[in-house]
Subunit: 210 residues, 2 copies
Amino acid sequence: MSTKKSIDYKLYLVTDRNVLGNRDLIQSVEEAIQGGATVVQLREKNCSSLDFYNLAIKLKKVTSKYGVPLIINDRLDIALAVKADGLHIGQEDLPLTVVKTIVGDDMIIGVSANTLEEALLAEKQGADYVGIGAVYPTDTKLDADYLTLDDLRSIRKAISIPIVGIGGINEKNAVEVMGTNIEGVAIVSAILGKQDVKQAAQELLRKINN
Amino acid sequence: MSTKKSIDYKLYLVTDRNVLGNRDLIQSVEEAIQGGATVVQLREKNCSSLDFYNLAIKLKKVTSKYGVPLIINDRLDIALAVKADGLHIGQEDLPLTVVKTIVGDDMIIGVSANTLEEALLAEKQGADYVGIGAVYPTDTKLDADYLTLDDLRSIRKAISIPIVGIGGINEKNAVEVMGTNIEGVAIVSAILGKQDVKQAAQELLRKINN
Ligand code: NI
């Protein structure tokens, strides 16, 4: 039996310690949820498994309190350890087919796809949603290849599972991204990098909903 | 039902890419097994999950060919993904109690312990073996606290599960370490750092067996 939740992908918050500066990650995510974030992905790199686990446990308490799904980036062991709602894997993480043999259908699995082919394969292999991007160049990946809105529309027509746009999405371009008929936008610095995190989430949600 | 193998911990090889230089990890481990390594722990840091997985899959083929158990360091997700025989966790990795809730008794779980208290707790929480050390200072941890042979003897008397000595053990001191009545020695550079890996393993095993 699947224990998956039905997820609202609309305002998909991805954590990034680097944009938070000295501010507390857990408290900032709680403010983002209060502002309207509909799903939270915890993304940590270069920390010990114990630190990742302890952080995920704390974050799970917050997301559970608000009934918002928690998705862990990359690390299936952490996702299993904290009984997260989902796992998000990139093309450099464990293969989707391998993950599925371990968790079956009991966890939401999202896959990052940068091309139509990767998106089609992810759907075929049983991904619950795909993160498609980068839609716009980001500060950290200035020279990365990115997709056009037309690319997003083409992928939207080609697959049936939910699509979240990823990469450089902010209050200025979120509306046109959602205009491609995808289910949500993944936001990092346009929420967590703002002075008032809750207000930033509120304004983004308001624009998307209009 | 437990699918655990009964493990011979005597000559416990731990991989380290840094001591291999340009040599191939998989081939070097195969030579070490041919020389007498009785168990192999794959330890990788700072590589993508996909790279870790692909390496572990390749290594599993070699260890399976020789009937030698493969233990994965730190990463339970990788251990599950490649159906490794075991997982070795340190004090900065996932807590043993959490790991046990996920894998039950179907995987060998080893725990690094640096004190008698940590060793007692690991045994109480269901560890299958403990790695105790560092027994001698290593090149990479010159100023780390290390245990004396008397410390090893005290821990040996206090717990019942197998003990593997870890840290700075080589052909010069392996015999005195085994003299504390522990089950095995964990070796890194004294095998993988030698020009003739197979011969290094053979000589270590011969000394230990004498
Ligand atoms: Ni189910």
